[in-house]
Symmetry: C2
Subunit: 257 residues, 2 copies
DNA sequence: TATCATTTGTTCGTATGTATC
DNA sequence: CGATACATACGAACAAATGAT
């Protein structure tokens, strides 16, 4: 039993007791927690207190609550989708990215935007420069995991290429296209974790208290000038990114603004 | 004013109204929200409803609440610490990692553990294999951002080297040491986003609703056998990781289990 | 230093709505 | 349809942190 005693707020003690019961194995992953009524009886507290405790465990990502059914222990070591963040090129000059097998949920949405403070820095442009944006909502058929991919193409890059007419070209084809245009490509990726916005949570179908992992890939030309920017946003709980590193000489290290 | 009307729960309408007021600029970043009493008057709802709305904005990471003071709008584009996840080597064979300038908060803590399911896979070992663990709590002096670095060294790797006596050697020196032992090193990094455990939140001094970015770096020898594992956990809100990518031939792509 | 007003935190009670089975 | 379970909403009281008097 999870007795309640000293420290701090009542609901925190209840939350700790339930947390212990979960880690102890009394409530294994996937199993339902006792109902609110049962928890009230078990710990001798009021309904608001129990609900408060449950809310705490919820924002910790420890449990999942389903209206009308009950609260359930979230599987800890969740099945993870591994996205290899690599770029490979065959003899014919075709590029392949190791991002896994994604299926588009909707048609790519093309729109015209301007650089923001964040995207401007990554593209080496001032704020307010014109660019194409292509949004792709993707899903992994085997796991159902969703991801949002956005390609940002400055007008300066698109000009005089097929991109001006078809900005919704696959990134891999864009790489080939830019290479054919004489560029020697390399890439920089910046990844971070954050909580999703309400609409992101909806489109990515994220559970409560699930962060997203967000990565921005800048494609650079021979002289490290940014050509295009790709952003990928996915569930931090279900997706992980892998990178290969090799030791380079110190003269090749590029400072990033 | 943020009028309240149709859709869904009352507290969600209040939350949406406040969210709008924030994005509109009525409450700019850093500014205090009206007090609960004022919000009750403004929207004509009860205290529990207002508090529920505030709780929602809180788990979204939009606001920060300080006991006895008030609720404050969180700065959106937060000052970010950029960690370059690269490895460079000079002529003398010394390694440098571009992880920024960290200062230890405490002495490195050395302990003996065994592989878990997660770390076992990354080290190519079964569960329960013996290894050294070295924990370092680091802080960035300029921003105050904290990070937790853990080095895991299997006994098989440490055996017969200086690591058996001094597992708390700097990772960069470990690289040099392994190179001198005849290994040709490369690295694989796996990064993901997740919510911190309660004690992680405390040691990393994280605010509410801030996820962590977690990266595991495996050091590999000539034949892609794992030698050591480094884990880095940092605030997803304040730290971001950058990687350099270059196109490789398809035969060099390494499948990851 | 001590006190007080303000503000958020905690806890109870109660009633009703809504989803699931 | 009914039983169960979670969601929403109101009211009330006291505790604890903060900042100023």
């Amino acid at each position: 039993m999870g007795e309640i005693q000293r420290p701090g707020a009542l609901y925190k003690q209840v939350a700790a007791a339930i947390r212990d019961a979960i880690t102890t194995g009394e409530f294994p992953p996937g199993a339902p927690l006792p109902s609110e009524t049962q928890l009230i009886a078990r710990y001798g507290v009021s309904r608001p207190t129990v609900r408060n405790a449950i809310a705490a465990l919820r924002t910790e990502g420890l449990i999942e609550v389903i209206h009308g059914k009950g609260s359930f222990v979230r599987s800890a070591g969740n099945p993870v989708l591994t996205l290899e963040r690599t770029v490979t090129r065959d003899e014919a000059g075709n590029f392949t990215t190791g991002q896994g097998i994604w299926k588009p949920v909707e048609e790519p949405a093309i729109h015209r935007t301007t650089t923001t403070a964040a995207t401007g820095v990554l593209l080496g442009l001032d704020e307010g420069e014109a660019l194409f944006g292509v949004d792709r909502l993707l899903t992994d058929p085997t796991t159902g995991t969703r991801a949002l991919h956005r390609t940002l193409i400055p007008f300066a890059t698109a000009e005089g290429t097929a991109l001006a007419e078809h900005p919704d070209t696959d990134p891999e084809r864009i790489y080939a296209l830019l290479t054919k245009a004489g560029h020697d490509l390399s890439w920089t990726e910046t990844t971070r974790a954050r909580m999703p916005l309400p609409d992101e949570r909806a489109t990515l179908q994220l559970a409560d208290a699930v962060p997203v992992i967000h990565t921005a890939r800048t494609t650079l030309d021979n002289e490290d000038r940014p050509l295009i920017l790709e952003e990928l946003t996915a569930s931090g709980d279900r997706a992980q990114l892998t990178y290969r590193l090799t030791a380079t000489g110190p003269e090749q290290a590029q400072p990033t603004a």
